[in-house]
């Protein structure tokens, strides 16, 4: 018995594991929290694109002699604001524009890393996340972005909710919808930047989408959905990171697989009815999904 417990607790004696675990917990919680707005606004494709764009900044910054966080941060912010501008100005064709810009940025990152080698973080750890090399600075960044996000979501709660649910009426009711969109893009790009080395470019989108979808299947309340998605993201981050150590698989992979497993369990428990409640998530602008039959007046 003691042997089993020892084996289970074994990783906790290594400082790198504890750091990795804290990072995974923060990253999972952060992605789950912000993912609620991202999925309800139909922005997960933007999240996916943004992580690829930031990858270019990650690769380019060390070559230019700029600190990675600063370089990738500015790169990400610029991409986020550019995407925001494109989406707002041209509703149609925005997907294509985002696709071109972000994949080009990703390709540039791959090219730079292949040509000039590893001046910065390792190639595959950026793609799939890694438990190794989580520095104290990364934890501070994660913690800072997490606290910043919670503060922004608390202070602007009602305006963010209104502009997500019904932007037209929000605008008429005095909410600065453009400002809310910009704030969300900034929060999203900062979150992706902070979580990239834990979860990885290619898997960040999944951690943004899966916890909110699970939360939506469980609750009809927005406030509860925020709590639930954050908690699910947090728990999956912890479990995923632990599995990553034990199975020696990149941490982003195990975190996403844990998320997917929880999704399957909730789907089995809640059945198709739970899944139906997610209709319209991330398809907010799709009329075929958001249109509805007016129910008959109840007698």
């Amino acid at each position: 018995m003691n042997g089993i417990v020892e084996t289970l607790l074994d990783p906790f004696q290594y400082q790198f594991f504890v750091k990795g675990l804290v990072a995974a917990v923060l990253a999972g919680a952060l992605c789950g929290l912000i993912g609620v707005f991202i999925t309800l606004r139909g922005m997960s494709y933007i999240g996916h694109g943004l992580s690829h764009a930031i990858f270019g900044g990650y690769a380019a910054a060390p070559l230019l002699g700029i600190p990675i966080v600063l370089g990738a941060g500015l790169w990400g912010l610029a991409s986020a604001l550019a995407i925001n501008a494109v989406t707002r100005r041209h509703r149609i064709g925005a997907d294509a524009a985002i696709g071109v810009v972000t994949t080009a940025s990703f390709a540039l990152g791959v090219a730079l890393l292949t040509k000039f080698g590893n001046k910065g973080p390792a190639f595959d750890s950026l793609l799939f996340g890694s438990i190794n090399g989580v520095a104290l600075g990364d934890l501070y960044l994660l913690g800072g972005v997490f606290i910043g996000t919670v503060v922004v979501f608390t202070v602007l709660y009602r305006q963010l909710l209104f502009s997500t649910f019904d932007p037209d009426v929000a605008r008429v009711s005095g909410v600065n919808v453009g400002f809310m969109d910009t704030i969300l893009m900034i929060v999203l790009s900062m979150s992706i930047l902070a979580t990239l080395s834990i979860i990885g470019v290619t898997l960040v989108a999944a951690t943004l989408v899966i916890p909110p979808v699970i939360a939506r299947m469980i609750t009809d309340s927005f406030a509860r959905m925020l709590w639930l998605a954050t908690s699910i993201g947090l728990a999956c981050g912890a479990v995923g990171m632990y599995l990553s150590y034990q199975l020696e698989i990149p941490s982003g992979t195990t975190i996403v697989l844990t998320n997917a497993a929880v999704f399957l369990v909730v789907l089995l428990v809640k059945g198709a009815r739970g899944l139906r409640s997610t209709a319209g998530m991330d398809e907010h602008t799709d009329a075929s999904v958001t249109s509805f039959e007016v129910p008959a007046v109840r007698a």
Partner: protein
Amino acid sequence: MTAVSATPPLIDVSHVSFGYGGPAVLADVSCTVVPGQFTGIVGPSGSGKTTLLKLLLGTQKPQHGQVRRAAGMAVSYVPQLETVNWNFPVTVEDCVLMSRKARTWNPRPSKAERSEVAEVLERLGIADLGHRHIRELSGGQQQRMFLARALVRRPQLLLLDEPTSGVDVQTRHEVLHLLDDLNRDGLAIVLTTHDLNGMAAHLPHLIALSRRIIASGPPEEVIVPGVVEQVFGARMEILQHLGMPVVVDSMDDDPARRASAS
């Protein structure tokens, strides 16, 4: 009407033209909205009535002419039901609260705010639905919830986009009665509609729109053969029933339509 028209207008639209890059959607449109007014903007789709509504809302700016709004006026807007995602995870209370400006940093609604919402829901006859998810409401109840969200801002002017499109007859009656009550309490209301019999004929004042204002005044002056034909581009017969005009689509006059109908 003379008593109300003496007060300064809430919105004054003068000689406004508007286009989305192509031909003008609105040409030389002038009208005013005064306190206590209840107006229906009538026209088929493409007549420019939604654009005129947007100009009144201030979400579109005219390319020519002027839209002057009374300083500090609160306007509320009720969109068509299908403009939002009814699967969105909010309750009726959440939804109504959204348009109530937050006064503190605490995202939770205060006691005062909750009682304000309860009061409005009560007024609209959906007091018991506050904790329901919005998807569980019938079309009429959803319309009332939108009205509650609009009223909780205590507006002087309420603008509605096709409030009865896609709802059944009973709901249409309920909405009409509600709006009438609100108007009697002094709220100015402007709505768009393409429904001449079900909606327009019951309103005190109409504006018939087809790029330009073709006619404006009470229904008996606006729902007349010449105007209706010009606005809707089809010949229609107009009968009188209980003192209200009733428009009858005179299909028999048009051999092509008769053939396609059979």
